[in-house]
Amino acid sequence: MSFEHLRTLEAESIHIIREVAAEFARPVMLYSIGKDSSVLLRLAQKAFHPGPIPFPLLHIDTTYKFREMIEFRDRQAAHIGVNLIVHTNTEAIRAGTQPYAVGTQRCCGLLKTQALLDALQNGGFDAAFGGARRDEERSRAKERVFSLRDSRGQWDPKRQRPELWRLLNGRIAPGESMRVFPLSNWTELDVWHYIDAERIPVVPLYFAREREVIVRGDSLIVPEQPFVPLLPGERTERVMCRMRSLGCSPCTGAIRSSAATVSDIIDELVAVRHSERQLRIIDHDQDGSMEMKKREGYF
């Protein structure tokens, strides 16, 4: 894709990030450690240069993220010198919450949605950036760049404000907050092209190598967590694979791939036609599940 196209997307995203810094009292940037977050972070660095990023990063740590993600997170935060807040729903963890015990929906509800809402409330944040893109999923295709949430963080698709030109309406009532998606108009391929052009560091899990995985139907599961059971007849195998999107290790499958560099990944994406959230088990629980999670306060 043309360089010019990426520069247009970049300029629009920087404009959005600056509008938030100008119009909100306490913004925060959700940092999920994945490729989209890495791009968002770079855009924030660019937006305020030569000044520092004027808001903290927030990571909602379910404690079930891949080990390599956490190492990468801490390394990046130290390197960039940004204020990183890590929040975990420790109460739910102590109560034994994990996907095999309570189901993926309830697990996500407690460790991601509830934890996020608590962290936003604790910090008194009135705007939270997320790296979601409209090309990821059907209900996201409908979401505004400035997505208004009520006092419980919930999205009402019928209350969405018209968003014209580059005029973003950041006005909120007390208790309400805004979720902001500067990467709305980017596609997965744009993100990788940008990472390539800008040499942005990403978690090594995106790159193919032999990994010890459980082969379960079409999914390859990395057994990092002790509670991930081997079903009858299953054993771990060494498979050449990589992550197409990053999440919690028990619920994010790897794909068979030999793409070991960013340009390999781009070639693979051009050839492969499977959308990236497919390997996230949580979105497929039922038709419209992402929309329902968003209504409940998920990103």
Binding site: F48, H49, N169, A173
Partner: protein, 432 residues
Amino acid sequence: MSGLLRICTAGSVDDGKSTLIGRLLYESRGVYEDQLQSVKAASRNRTAGSIDFSLFTDGLRAEREQGITIDVAYRYFATAKRKFILADTPGHEQYTRNMATGASTADVAILLVDARHGVREQTRRHARIARLLGIGTFVVAVNKMDLVDFDESVFASIASELPDLLDGAHVQPIPLSALHGDNVIARSGRTPWYRGPALLPFLEETVAPELPALAPFRFPVQLVIRPDARFRGYAGQIVSGRIAVGDSVTIWPSGTKTRVAAIVTWEGNLPSASAPMSVTLALADDVDVSRGDTISAGPLHVGRRFSANVVWMDERPLQPGRPYVLKHSTQTVTAWSDEALSLNQIAIAKITAGRPLAFEPYSLNRSTGSFILIDPSSNFTAGAGMIVEPLADAQRSADRDLADRVAHAARAARSHVDAVDAVRAVLEETLA
């Protein structure tokens, strides 16, 4: 590579808009395999038969349940030639505001017309909005041609109807069947009488307007960047034109003149920059600049009153004299309208802003000529405005304006002597 093209679709309900877009996405591989699987499964739940292409774009449960499109859906696809962002906007009149949203950033509008019904009121309305919002290229997609036996005369009569409404725009009528794919990707054998291009090739070849880069330099200031005592820069996006280090610029609404000392980016300082880049400008003089000001090459209108085409998007009507929040560029002020408007109405209104704005007619510049009106009690984006022309400020506000202009003239001056001259000039001009 022809660059990025932004498209919006418009038309009446049931003209087959979502089906056409689903078809475009499907044929250009803009639909992913697992989305296709989930749509195939959903198609089986709803109706017997083949793939329901509209399910690719109708993303909300209420839409799938009711079989209509409620909200704008943004779709992204690319061919070997070009990248597209497509805003799929609803046909129901109650969602006309979303049509305006989609059209505000589009280069091309596809107007869907059902061949059996011809151009309906809703289509005319959408065409009018899209033209008003500055779209210069229209495809009149005469859909469901299979249901009129690909009759050339049906197509010709519809094709002749819309150009009058879209004066000055480039209009390309295309006979289609979105359901069967005729003239979507390639020319169809079932319309041998049609000599024009199929839809996708037409979109691939359309030239996106280069206007923003060619127009005069306009830079609304978003933020002042001041990391330490040594650096003070103004962050913003160049909405039009080009700027180079050393260029003379004016800061509005004060009218202060200065020069660009540096164009600062994360990659390093640049000798020049152009729309649509986001940059930070350092200026040669220690001047008063803050968020909401516009840095430009050449003059802008400065004033509190102007006429504008206003699209009303809120169920609560626009009330004359009621204060609204007006956002223009990066400036937010209180404003009043002299006109009453109800939901989905479009009319020319006279707008009075509480403080002077620096603006241009929308026909010259989409960025400096546009604004939104926000209801201060609900915070809903209630109106979209396109400035037509400045109006003389009303008598009751003349005193305050004069004070503003005197203050600006004094502040803009380089020395006390200059300030005295500048103030005298303003007073003489006003009292003459």
